[in-house]
Symmetry: C2
Subunit: 253 residues, 2 copies
């Protein structure tokens, strides 16, 4: 009898611990609810994994929680990651992604994801910049992947914020955000100083780490651990652990 | 004059060192040439990054070396990674990929890439199995990503070979290859015991490590280092370093 009581006590205390863990991980910025509606902007010469890395994590989140991802572009034509100007050898190694919505028909978005890639340097993506500029203030979170933080800077939403970006593109991208505090040693940066919170990752595959941290923060540690195990991703969980850190001037540390 | 001679000697010795490095890394199985023609098979409910991880690496290889990737399916209809049977919450979080060729119009292939995903368990992918079975013997290399090794096993090309797979799917996938030696502790496995060599990775993101090892082996260490820096991927370079290793029966170590 005594052991059954102990067991019940243990179970209850575990439940409360789990409940506490869960509630402590729900951010006020998402109003106590987990995110449901994601939007990913697409533009010519995006980096493949800047888009598909977050999608990979959301592919599993979608099996655990009702979730929608809108793939957004200025038209519904397939968008290619091919950086045409750089493809001197005429290779064919890029798989286009087909948008689900145009910028004009975009649904409501809780979390806006801005990927990077060679196209981040393209001056002719004004439709993308306009969309980010007018949409970001109405979202609950912005996630910049890789050089996507340069696009968000050009869209005018990074002023007074801290951020990071791909260390191989440091000088070019940081110049897009003269009023942004750029962190040269960070696997990712969480700026929660204003609404919406804006997080930004380092290059490409660091997006997995930021995205799993986002899951840990706004869903649960259990979900993040479950997904990282399924995709066998060796997580970097400390945002200050940056194996590709640079000096402030962009030179390799 | 003496210093110019010294400098010439140094340059020549550097050249030979580089040449030596390059030639030592060219495998006989690719007849001394780097691969040019890749084929990736697609089927319903493939895992997104099983396809786009290798593509990410090839996106950069294509800028350094003339390279073509054929995206292959039984029709030219877009192929979705959505595992319909598992999508109980009716989420929309999957981005289809549009094939470039059907299995019947496939070009010549040097390197065949077989991704995995929930669809690896689908008994109704006979067109995929037929294609792999008749194509693999004419390729110079097969790369299985994640549970793709289970598909290759069902296609009949893994008999007498050693391989690994996603450790979360160990029992199901290894049962598809009763005559395969399954390695429960390996980030990836290189079977070079017969033609074509068949390599297989563990789950999803381990495909980056195997693909970069493939680049290091058949292109150059410089190419692999360059790409891993650009995509900020923290490489695991020892195939025996498996953070997700299991026991032989599939239980967690």
């Amino acid at each position: 009898m005594r052991s059954r009581k102990m067991s019940l006590t243990n179970t209850l205390s575990t439940c409360f611990w789990v409940l506490g863990l869960l509630t402590s991980q729900v951010s006020a910025s998402l109003n106590g609810t987990i995110p449901k509606r994601y939007g990913i902007v697409l533009f010519p010469a995006f980096d493949t994994t800047d888009v598909t890395g977050p999608l990979e994590v959301l592919n599993f989140i979608g099996l655990l929680h009702s979730t929608d991802v809108a793939l957004l572009s200025d038209t519904l034509d397939p968008v290619s990651p091919e950086p045409k100007m750089m493809n001197k050898l005429n290779s064919s190694v890029w798989a286009p992604i087909v948008p689900t919505h145009t910028f004009d028909t975009a649904p409501e978005i809780d979390v806006l994801i801005v990927p990077g890639g060679p196209g981040a340097r393209n001056p002719n993506i004004t439709a993308v910049l306009d969309f980010i500029g007018r949409t970001a203030p109405n979202t609950k979170h912005v996630l910049n992947i890789c050089t996507g933080s340069g696009i968000s800077a050009k869209a005018g939403i990074m002023g007074g914020r801290k951020a990071t970006t791909n260390k191989s593109a440091w000088t070019t991208i940081t110049a897009y955000g003269p009023n942004t505090t750029w962190i040269p040693k960070a696997r990712w940066v969480e700026d929660n100083s204003a609404e919406p919170p804006i997080w930004s990752s380092s290059g490409v595959t660091s997006g997995f780490d930021m995205m799993l941290q986002f899951v840990e923060t706004f869903y649960s540690l259990q979900n993040a651990t479950y997904i990282s195990r399924l995709i066998e991703h060796v997580r970097i969980t400390d945002p200050n652990n940056d194996p590709f850190a640079v000096n402030v001037d962009g030179t390799i540390l």
